[in-house]
Subunit: 257 residues, 2 copies
DNA sequence: CGGGGCGTTGACTGAGATCAATTATGGTGG
DNA sequence: CCACCATAATTGATCTCAGTCAACGCCCCG
């Protein structure tokens, strides 16, 4: 966890916004404490007043809220490089919760450090701000999915998104990605019942677009899946055209898991 | 449009985040050019690369996206005091459009001004940042509505939200607010068909919760409507308990349309 | 080897969509 | 002041996608 380019946050922010060496170093130093957490653990709860931000280094988390009547809505899934609670740095009280889906490795950044860094380095503040705005853009796209797309489209769209985001941090091997999300969680994310998710998944399999078993999703036909999901990655605001896995000169050592 | 406290943005930001007199003055100066626009006009389109931000002073606007198949999803409605395109200052390309619902008065703030102000006044930057995060929180709540609430709950929830936000800038007279939103627009915001919106509105009327005609919404039973809509205003991150309309010293002239 | 989590399947139900008119309503021009 | 037109609201009939209920199988783990 030492060399700046190892840090997936830096990789991602640099992707959104150019960073100087000084800025990279600052960011890297900010991540002092590293924590490991098991699966299905709450990291933050609605109503909390956090004093630190968390950067996901490994694993997957989700944000959610429990409504009255016990229904759950999942707002987003998070991949390495995401500060899934950046908002806590600006807003006092959490209006939703965050939980792990898998075992996770998390870097902790005290708010005090965030304040110092962002007040002294406005460009860095903008980079983090931009990251929170990309979040908001993703929320909007999900809203559009839930509000106006069919179950089949929603599933396909979600898969394309997760694939694109994992690919951006080098965690997609071709169309193959980790998929630790249960059908019940997919349902709560997409506003569907678990039964209907199951049936829709089978449609996607039947159409030859995907394979999904043992928490591994293989996208057999990415263009087909994008079409099926009405997926246009513009809302993710990723600049580069080539996926990170294409770049050979980048010298971030390819690490196997 | 001269005296700082006339500016609904300053009123709202101060509401979120304490501001110094210097900061208030800076913000007020930033709003140089004032524009008037008619109803049902696009202000910004998906794909645009704006060079200025817009502060809504009067009227109501919405953000939306047209999906393939021509379906529309409305992401939010905006009331005076909202910088409905603050994100354009940080992200180059618009991923959605903005349109007026009513005739609007808008203050234009060049990005260059925004950059100067926010880089020199990090606290102001945080105030605007916070505003964009409240936006994101609202998106999440809408997502929860569309994904997990019934049509009846969604309608009630939306009405409570618009009421709360208008009240926060002094534009609610008791339970009475302007409601320039057509049933078709409600449908596109809440993921419902226009026909079903109509029927659900009649249920709300029948339950004695509201009255709605001639673009005026009267909430007859606010606690009842909140219960019906599962509405908890925490997600709006408003600090004050009292509504602005309670404050008598504020002297914002009651203006008829 | 028993139990809990996850996935799968079938049968039935229902909230909300769609289709198709019909009726206000609010301008607009004569 | 009134005819006219477009937009918005309303209503009825029908259909369908997705939810609910209820089993059952699989697999991992204690």
């Amino acid at each position: 966890m030492a060399a700046p380019n190892d840090n997936p946050l830096i990789r991602k922010l640099a992707y959104l916004h150019p960073l100087s060496d000084l800025e990279r170093e600052l960011l890297d130093k900010a991540c002092s404490r590293i924590v490991r957490v098991g699966p299905d653990q709450d990291l933050i709860n609605e109503g909390d007043r956090p004093t630190e931000c968390n950067l996901l280094l490994e694993g997957m988390t989700c944000r959610y809220k429990i409504l009255s009547e016990g229904k759950r809505q999942i707002f987003s899934f998070h991949v390495p490089g995401d500060i899934y609670d950046a908002q806590s740095f600006v807003m006092e009280v959490m209006d939703h919760s965050v939980a792990t889906l898998t075992p996770c490795t998390i870097a902790v950044i005290p708010h005090t450090t965030m304040v110092t860094i962002t007040e002294e380095h406005p460009r860095l503040a903008r980079a983090v701000w931009k990251d929170t705005l990309v979040d908001a853009s993703i929320f909007r796209e999900w809203m559009a999915s839930i509000g106006r797309r069919s179950a089949y489209q929603r599933l396909a769209h979600l898969m394309c998104e997760i694939h694109a985001r994992l690919d951006a941090v080098g965690l997609a091997t071709g169309g193959r990605i980790d998929w630790p999300i249960t059908q019940s969680e997919i349902g709560d994310a997409l506003g569907l019942s678990l039964v209907h998710v199951n049936r829709t998944l089978q449609e996607l399999r039947g159409a030859g677009l995907i394979t999904l078993k043992e928490s591994k999703l293989v996208i057999l036909d990415l263009p087909g899946l994008k079409t099926a999901g009405d997926f246009d990655p513009q809302y993710l605001h990723m600049k580069a055209r080539r996926s990170i896995s294409d770049r050979t000169g980048d010298a971030s050592e390819p690490r196997e898991r």
